[in-house]
């Protein structure tokens, strides 16, 4: 009965409806919208940890430990100032960015020719080799921590940026090859041949014609390499001590004599998220294609 009176235009229908009109209005105001609720809950669960991190980073230690506040009562940027001025803090970011950039550069330089070979030539054991590449990713990084530590120490690479960059290549190169091969396979072989017939040498063809065709694939591969290298903690911590210490390691080692500096740690966390968020923003349109590994 209420449904019928609440139907569009019901109010204009002549008849004795005056009694039910206020009731209908009340009901309409509180009718929950299903999808809005779901989205609100989704955003709540998604954003709550991030918000709490941001919230903490803008509070003083006293406020964090002393009371439960939903937003900073005494807004302070002191924590950020500490990080951006103290070399022991900001060098962590610099170190991380150096080895991540190195790693992405090495990964792409190595993976591009490898993926091209897999996509264009058939040679003995090519399919096995291609699969074997992926099996490198099946072991957790912890497995390699000990051998890498010993190996890099013995060749005097311990505590250098290149050591971490190379160690991460073990995981990033196979993934990059896998992604790039999918994109390259989508480019017809006839384009290569037409280029050779037109007179392009191989390097020139590869850079001028082929790479623009798989630009989104290169972007996606670089993104995955960046992400892995940026968040990986165990190997980067094992292989560094002071000179190449990554930010994630700095964060886990900040228990001082005065206890944990909650505010600074939270600020460091916020700053650590920023580069990843920036990269995601730039490659967001290619991510879905990247997860399909170009095989669409």
């Amino acid at each position: 009965m209420t449904d019928a009176t609440a139907a569009p235009g019901a109010a204009t229908i002549p008849g004795d409806l005056t009694a039910s009109r206020p009731r209908a209005a009340t009901r309409r105001r509180f009718r929950p919208n299903g999808s809005a609720v779901v989205i609100a809950l989704y955003l709540l669960f998604l954003m709550l940890p991030l918000y709490w991190l941001l919230n903490m980073s803008l509070k003083t230690n006293a406020e964090i430990l002393g009371s439960f506040t939903l937003f900073p009562r005494n807004l302070t940027f002191e924590n950020y100032a500490t990080i951006l001025t103290d070399p022991s803090w900001y060098s962590g970011y610099v170190n991380s960015l150096i080895y991540v950039t190195l790693n992405v550069a090495i990964t792409l330089t190595v993976a591009l020719p490898a993926a091209y070979a897999f996509s264009r030539y058939s040679f003995m054991g090519d399919k096995h080799l291609f699969f074997w590449l992926l099996t490198n990713r099946m072991a957790p990084p912890a497995v390699f921590a000990l051998p890498f530590f010993q190996l890099y120490s013995s060749v005097n690479l311990f505590d250098t940026h290149i050591a971490v960059a190379l160690a991460h290549c073990l995981f990033n190169v196979p993934l990059a090859v896998w992604i790039l091969e999918g994109f390259m396979r989508g480019v017809p072989k006839e384009i290569d041949e037409t280029a050779y017939i037109d007179g392009y040498s191989f390097p020139r063809f590869f850079v001028k014609i082929f790479m623009p065709l798989i630009a989104s694939g290169i972007g996606v591969a670089a993104f995955f390499a960046f992400m892995f290298s940026w968040v990986e903690l165990l190997l980067s911590r094992t292989l560094t001590a002071v000179d190449a210490k990554p930010i994630a390691a700095t964060m886990t080692r900040t228990v001082g004599a005065s206890g944990v500096d909650w505010g600074v740690l939270a600020a460091a966390g916020v700053l650590t998220i920023v580069p990843g968020a920036l990269v995601i923003w730039f490659v967001r349109n290619y991510i879905a294609k990247g997860f399909a590994l170009g095989r669409v």
Binding site: P188, E190, I191, E193, T194, A195, Y196, I197, D198, G199, Y200, S201, I209, P212, L213
Partner: protein
């Protein structure tokens, strides 16, 4: 300028794709490679271009051995059946790219690109990317790129196969004219006999990796050297009937007739007679016409013509009949053939006597 294939063959993993071929293609000629799919047209073209190395034999360009030469140094141009352009470049840059690699001056490149674009009617689209063009325009872009290179050897691998009917007819008429001026060696692969006849020049018929015949297109059409060539160079394929010649009479299937026309003066024995679909008629064409009684299996009506498929013994014949005919299927049907239209092949397939009508032409 001439391209010479000297005993060139190609096999992959023990499978022979191209049997040894000797062929000389002269400059300024249109050479059509005619054969069904998998007959080795593309394999042969890739050998000519230098994309694949021959297993045996030599490839000569103006008498100079270029067998092992890099494809970049060959001076060839090639257009594929698929529309192959550089998607990241504009049409202008696509067409200009071979000339830039040759180190030509800017003005020279610009003039050549605009002339080619004009010929291919691409001028309004020079600033677009190839993938923003229609299929026909994409293929014209590829053709323009082949044109500006001014290569000595131009290979066109079924360039019109993926285009719609109207555009195909248009470009087929244009291509020989456009490229004729350049005076290069043209090689054009196609599966359609009709296309080979329209393009003229020379034709090489291919069958299972062998060149069965090479010569001027009308000559090959009229005087095929064997039954295979005749079958390839006829669409629908040539019809065949067994012939037994004995003492002045020729027995075509079940029909006995005096040995006249192509069968006249043949030694006694069994032969194979072949005739083209347009020579199979439903009405007796003349006093000499032979009458066969077959079973009508299928009729296909294409606007103004009717293809009748007739089973005669264990052979299937196709006749091309003018006009639209509604005929009852599965019934016996009398069909006629003038012996003057029959080619006679030996049992092995070699031509014994050409049809008199063709020899006279």
């Amino acid at each position: 300028m001439a391209l010479t294939l000297d005993g060139v063959s190609k096999s992959v993993n023990g499978q022979v794709h191209v049997h040894p071929i000797d062929l000389t293609l002269e400059a300024g000629t249109m050479n059509v490679l005619l054969g069904p799919t998998l007959s080795g047209k593309t394999s042969l073209m890739r050998l000519m271009a230098g994309l694949d190395a021959p297993t045996k034999g030599r490839i000569l360009w103006n008498g100079e051995d270029v067998t092992g030469q890099r494809v970049q140094d060959r001076g060839v141009a090639m257009v594929y059946q698929q529309f192959i352009n550089y998607p990241s470049m504009t049409v202008y840059d696509n067409v200009a790219s071979p000339m830039r690699l040759l180190g030509k001056s800017k003005g020279e490149i610009d003039a050549a690109v605009r002339r080619a674009a004009d010929l291919m009617r691409l001028t309004p689209f020079l600033d677009r990317k190839p993938l923003e063009l229609s299929g026909g325009q994409q293929q014209r872009c590829a053709l323009a790129r082949a044109l500006v290179k001014d290569a000595g050897l131009v290979l066109l691998d079924e360039p019109l196969a993926n285009l719609d009917y109207k555009l195909r007819e248009e470009l087929r008429a244009e291509i020989p004219n456009i490229f004729r001026e350049a005076g290069s060696v043209f090689v054009y692969a196609t599966t359609e006999p009709e296309e080979a006849l329209l393009l003229g020049g020379n034709v090489a018929t291919l069958w299972e990796g062998r060149v069965t015949q090479f010569g001027r297109t009308p000559d090959v059409y009229r005087q095929p050297v064997d039954a295979t060539t005749a079958r390839v160079f006829s669409d629908p394929p040539m019809n065949f009937v067994d012939v037994t010649v004995r003492g002045g009479t020729a027995r075509f299937g079940d029909v006995e007739a005096p040995a006249t026309a192509a069968t006249a003066g043949l030694a006694d024995g069994t032969y194979l007679a072949g005739f083209r679909p347009n020579h199979l008629t439903l009405e007796a064409a003349g006093p000499d016409a032979l009458t066969f009684t077959g079973t009508l299996a299928v009729t296909e009506i294409t606007g103004s013509e009717t293809f009748v498929h007739v089973d005669y013994g264990d052979r299937r014949w196709v006749g091309l009949i003018h006009g639209v005919r509604n005929l009852p299927l599965g019934r016996p049907i009398p069909v006629h053939l003038d012996p003057a239209h029959a080619y006679v092949f030996a049992e092995g397939g070699a031509l014994v006597a050409a049809a008199p009508y063709a020899a006279a032409a």
